[in-house]
């Protein structure tokens, strides 16, 4: 580790590392040590090279990479002014205002902060406008007494289904190919003749589940049960990520990461229940694809959209985005509660544009139809 006098007089690496961490960077003590090593290797003659070196050491994603220059400048300017703390405070709001921009959410997640902070980040993704319009919307279609009973039944049934699914996987893939390595090992005590063959099968791969929920008023009660359904299957999936959308998208995975799901759901319906205004499925899906697609869409992803298909956006956009999504995931399932109605036909502009790009189109208006989803997972 370099001695203090070796360090550039106007620049303290240690302080900068702490500064960056405060700004949401994920650097730990190891990075600080590397930063000191790097500074030593560089020789500390050139501030620009030092900046580049620190950038290479402290960043670990494109989001951090993009923010770094600004943080570096901020740090320098805060150090130049004599009343250091005051100016830092002065800069703070400006910097926070930058955060909800695309990608910076990942920073919040990376920083390993507590749930409260992550929750705040999750909500701010759609920008200030969403929060302004966030208001309580009435969603009680089901009488409260029935709701409780229904919840209990659903929990039990979903848990059963989860067990069934996991068991089915195990029995299925027993032997696929001969494991030569083990066969030879076993043949040694028998003088080299491979009498008993060892087999190996493919390890069952877990899939990711992404749920995309329409939160326009009529959808809420359906949404809540679908979330319950999905979270009962959490063990079966590698991860479950849940998003709400109407005219924009908000991730609520963090809110749902709790032991007491019914409680969280009730809290959710109080807090995040729908924004007034039309539904723009295409726009929301595009935002999702841009911001989260890389993280969540992969050939092992099952993507479920729950919506009635009443779309005020352009059907072409919806079709295009659905095609994009479809190409990147394993299965795209569209649940439409209206399908449960006897005389319903999917002829709305949005719905008919969407249908060609959907793998499974199914109702989700009651528990039975939700349980029927099992065979598609």
């Amino acid at each position: 580790m370099p001695q203090p006098e070796q360090v550039h007089s106007a620049f303290s690496i240690l302080e900068f590392c702490q500064f960056a961490r405060k700004k949401g960077f994920s650097n730990g003590v190891q990075q600080t040590l590397s930063a000191l090593e790097a500074a030593k290797a560089i020789g500390l003659v050139d501030l620009q090279v030092l900046e580049l070196a620190l950038r290479a050491v402290l960043c670990s994603s494109k989001e951090e990479w993009d923010l770094f220059t600004r943080i570096f400048e901020l740090f320098l300017s805060s150090r130049e002014s004599t009343s250091g703390t005051d100016s830092k405070v002065g800069h703070e709001p400006r910097f926070n205002a930058l955060r909800p921009e695309a990608g910076s959410r990942a920073l919040v997640g990376l920083s390993g902060s507590d749930a409260g902070q992550a929750e705040g980040g999750g909500k701010s993704v759609s920008g200030a406008s969403a929060q302004e319009r966030l208001q309580k919307v009435d969603l009680a279609d089901v009488p409260v007494d029935d709701l409780l009973a229904l919840e209990q039944i659903s929990t039990r049934l979903f848990r059963k289904m989860s067990l069934r699914l996991s068991r089915r996987r195990k029995i299925k893939n027993l032997r696929e190919s001969v494991d030569v390595r083990r066969t030879i090992r076993r043949s040694i005590p028998r003088g080299g003749d491979p009498i008993t063959l060892a087999f190996r099968g493919r390890k069952p791969r877990k899939h990711k589940l992404v749920i995309f929920l329409d939160v326009s008023g009529s959808m809420n009660s359906y949404s809540l049960f679908l979330v319950r359904f999905a979270y009962a299957l959490q063990k079966y999936f590698k991860s479950v990520n849940t998003f709400l959308f109407s005219t924009n998208v908000v991730e609520i995975t963090d809110l749902l990461r709790t032991r007491d799901l019914p409680d969280a759901l009730r809290g959710l319906s109080q807090r995040a229940a729908g924004w007034a205004g039309g539904t723009k499925i295409g726009d929301s899906l595009r935002d999702f694809n841009r911001q989260q697609g890389r993280r969540l869409l992969s050939p092992s992803t099952v993507f479920i959209i729950l919506s009635d298909g009443w779309d005020t956006g352009e059907p072409e956009l919806l079709a295009g985005e659905l095609r994009d999504t479809r190409r990147r995931v394993r299965k795209l399932i569209w649940l439409n509660p209206l399908l449960g109605l006897e005389d319903y036909a999917p002829v709305t502009r949005g719905m008919s544009a969407a249908l060609p790009h959907v793998d499974v189109f199914s109702a989700a208006h009651n528990l039975e139809s939700l349980l029927a989803l099992e065979r598609y997972l």
Binding site: I42, A56, S60, W65, G192, R295
Partner: protein
């Protein structure tokens, strides 16, 4: 992390600018940011993770680094389902079976036989083991498109990158004599684990500026006319502004310029672009989008 004695080659590299010049001497035009990162790879012996869109020369960094240091390049191409057997080592089963048969008549104890068939002679070295076994000098280990491998492999890699040793149960632990210089590349098709990212230096390769891209074209295609070169670069840079599924990288710029040259053109016109559309737009959708945006407008 254990340090190894510096090889004579890296003593010669004095500072970042020196490295920058050497890279350009080898035909790789880059900027100070990447040069600094590579410099730190050599000095700190930490792996470097390079992310960026396709076709911007991520893989090339490792190749140029290897030729600059005059050392071996060992490449591991990642893919979905990549397992330890094809990344680290595998026993040569056929040969082992043959050896067992041949030795049947020979008077040896079972232990001796076992020791023989699990000796180095029967070991197939895959890239990661090769990089550890290097005898003379530190090789450059390129782990290409790490985002394609699954998380399990990433976790294994983590272990390797911190200790630089590999355990073969039948032979024992093999420790690296010379720590390899490790370059990882990723196209960001998925997020890598925090633990891996924390262990690496990071560099994001962005699309080059006009000046830088011109420089690249001049270096890579020495025969190109200045007029044609600048037209191609301006055109491709305009195409990048469109919202294509696969925006063209520098590779595409070079392809486009190369094909215009081989067609004997001196200027890039609408017809030439349409004939060589496949150089820039890599899917039908992208091609249509490009045409809809007006090729003529982008050429002006």
């Amino acid at each position: 992390m254990p340090t190894s004695p510096m090889t004579p080659e890296c003593k010669q590299i004095n500072d970042v600018d020196d490295l920058l010049r050497r890279f350009e001497g080898l035909g790789y035009v880059t900027d100070r940011a990447l040069a600094t990162a590579v410099y730190l790879v050599i000095k700190l012996r930490k792996p470097l993770l390079i992310e960026g869109h396709a076709g911007l020369g991520k893989t090339e960094v490792a190749k140029v680094l290897a030729s600059m240091l005059g050392t071996r390049l060992i490449r591991l191409q990642c893919y979905e389902g990549l397992d330890v057997n094809s990344a680290v080592y595998e026993w040569n089963y056929q040969k082992q079976l043959l050896a067992i048969k041949i030795e049947e008549k020979i008077e040896r104890t079972v232990e001796e036989k076992e020791k023989h068939i699990f000796s180095k002679e029967f070991l197939l070295e895959r890239p990661l083991l090769q990089s550890i076994l290097a005898e003379e000098a530190s090789p450059v280990l390129l782990i290409d498109e790490i985002d394609r491998a699954d998380e399990a492999f990433e976790a294994f890699l983590l272990e390797l990158l911190s200790d630089f040793q590999i355990t073969v149960p039948e032979m024992g632990t093999i420790k690296a004599k010379h720590l390899p210089y490790v370059i990882l590349t990723s196209n960001r098709t998925r997020e890598l684990s925090d633990a891996l990212k924390r262990r690496c230096l990071y560099h994001w390769i962005d699309y080059p500026s006009y000046e830088k891209e011109m420089k690249i074209v001049r270096v890579r295609l020495p025969g190109i006319e200045e007029e044609l070169g600048s037209q191609v670069v301006r055109f491709v840079q305009a195409v990048r502004q469109l919202d294509l599924a696969k925006p063209p990288g520098v590779t595409e710029t070079l392809d486009c310029a190369q094909s215009a040259m081989s067609l004997g053109k001196h200027r890039l016109d609408v017809q030439t672009v349409e004939e060589t559309l496949g150089c820039v737009a890599k899917s039908l959708d992208d091609g249509n989008k490009l045409k809809a945006a007006g090729i003529e407008k982008m050429l002006s």
